[in-house]
C-alpha cells in the first residue's frame, strides 16, 4: 500500500512531468474519494457530505481522464495508479469531510506546480483545475484560502 505521497508538492518539473505529477495526484484523489464514498454510505447516507463527495468523485475522474489524454498527446506513457493508497481512519462524517478537504488542498498544490511549468492551453488546464480544487474545498467547509495551492510554502 502506498501513502498518498503523490499529492506532495513537487519541485520544478518539465511540462510533461508536471502533468504526470497531476495524473499521479488524480489517481490518488480518485482512490480517496472512492474510499470516502464507501465509508459515507455507512456513516452518512443521504448527507450533504455524501452528495459533495459523489460530485467531487465524478469531477476528479473526469480530470484524471483528461490528464491521461494530455500525457498521451505529449508522447509519454501515462503514469499508472498504485494498487492502493493509505487512508486515515474515517470514524464519522466529519472525518470524511476532513479527508476530502485534505485531498482537494493537496491536489491544488500539485496543480499550482503544473501552472508554473506549462504554457498556453496546458497552463489553462492546470489553472482551472487549481480553481476547481479551491472551490470544492470551500464547499466542504474549508475557509477560502488567500493563496490556494500555495498555502504553507
Amino acid at each position: 500500500m502506498t501513502a498518498m505521497t503523490a499529492l506532495a508538492a513537487s519541485p520544478a518539473l518539465p511540462a510533461v512531468e508536471a502533468f504526470q505529477a497531476c495524473l499521479a495526484a488524480e489517481h490518488a484523489v480518485v482512490y480517496g474519494y472512492g474510499v470516502l464514498g464507501g465509508r459515507l454510505a455507512r456513516v452518512g447516507p443521504g448527507s450533504t457530505t455524501e452528495t459533495l463527495v459523489e460530485a467531487a468523485y465524478a469531477e476528479h475522474r473526469g480530470l484524471r481522464d483528461q490528464l491521461l489524454a494530455t500525457v498521451l498527446d505529449l508522447g509519454a506513457e501515462p503514469v499508472a495508479a498504485e494498487p492502493a493508497y493509505a487512508t486515515p481512519d474515517l470514524a464519522d462524517v466529519e472525518d470524511c469531510r476532513q479527508l476530502a478537504r485534505d485531498l482537494e488542498q493537496r491536489c491544488a498544490a500539485v496543480y499550482a506546480d503544473a501552472v508554473a511549468e506549462t504554457l498556453d492551453d496546458a497552463r489553462e488546464l492546470a489553472a482551472l483545475s487549481l480553481r476547481g480544487c479551491a472551490i470544492r474545498a470551500t464547499r466542504l467547509d474549508a475557509p477560502v484560502e488567500t493563496y490556494p495551492g500555495l498555502t504553507g510554502r
Binding site: A12, R123, A126, A127, A137, T138, R139, E145, T146, P148
Partner: protein, 171 residues
C-alpha cells in the same frame, strides 16, 4: 509574504525600470510582439510584460479592496462576508506589492462608493469579484515567468472560491 520566487521578484524589480512610467500613472504599454530583447552585453532580464502585469493587477486589486471596505462600512448586514473578504483582499494586494518591492507603486486613492441598497451592493461586489477572477486568469496565461503565473492562478482560484461561496450563501 508569498513565495513567488526570489528570482522572479528580483527580475521583476530589475525590468521595472523600463516597464513603468515611474510617475504613478498607468504602466507603459507592452509593445506588440511581446517583451523586448535584453541588450548586448547586459545581463538577461525577464521581460517587461511581467512587470506591467503585476502593476496593473495591483491597481485592479486595490480597487476591489476599496469596494470591500465600502461595503463593510456601509452595509452592516453584509459584514459577515465582507469583513473576511476585505482581510483576504488586503493580503492579495500585499502579496502583489511584495513582487515589486523596489518599485514605487503608488497607493490607490480611488474611492469606491457602495450602492445604497444591500442587494445592489452585493451584486456589485459579486460582479467585481468575477471580473477579478477572470482577469487574474488572463494574467496567469500571459505571464512569462512560471512562478508569477502560479501566483496569478492562485489569486484567480481564491476569487473563484469566494464567488462560489457568496453565490451559495444566504445573505
Amino acid at each position: 509574504m508569498l513565495h513567488c520566487g526570489v528570482t522572479v521578484a528580483a527580475g521583476l524589480v530589475g525590468c521595472a525600470v523600463s516597464g513603468c512610467t515611474g510617475d504613478g500613472t498607468d504602466p507603459a504599454p507592452v509593445p506588440e510582439g511581446g517583451p523586448s530583447e535584453p541588450g548586448v552585453g547586459t545581463p538577461q532580464q525577464p521581460p517587461d510584460q511581467d512587470v506591467n502585469l503585476v502593476l496593473s493587477a495591483v491597481k485592479a486589486e486595490e480597487v476591489l479592496l476599496a469596494l470591500c471596505g465600502s461595503v463593510t462600512t456601509e452595509h452592516p448586514s453584509l459584514r459577515v462576508f465582507a469583513v473576511p473578504l476585505r482581510s483576504r483582499q488586503r493580503r492579495h494586494v500585499a502579496g502583489l506589492r511584495a513582487l515589486v518591492t523596489d518599485v514605487d507603486v503608488p497607493r490607490s486613492t480611488a474611492q469606491q462608493r457602495s450602492p445604497s441598497r444591500p442587494a445592489h451592493a452585493r451584486a456589485r461586489l459579486m460582479a467585481a469579484l468575477e471580473r477579478a477572477r477572470d482577469r487574474r486568469l488572463d494574467d496567469c496565461l500571459a505571464a512569462t515567468a512560471g512562478p508569477l503565473a502560479q501566483h496569478f492562478a492562485s489569486l484567480s482560484a481564491s476569487h473563484a472560491a469566494t464567488v462560489d461561496q457568496l453565490r451559495r450563501a444566504d445573505w
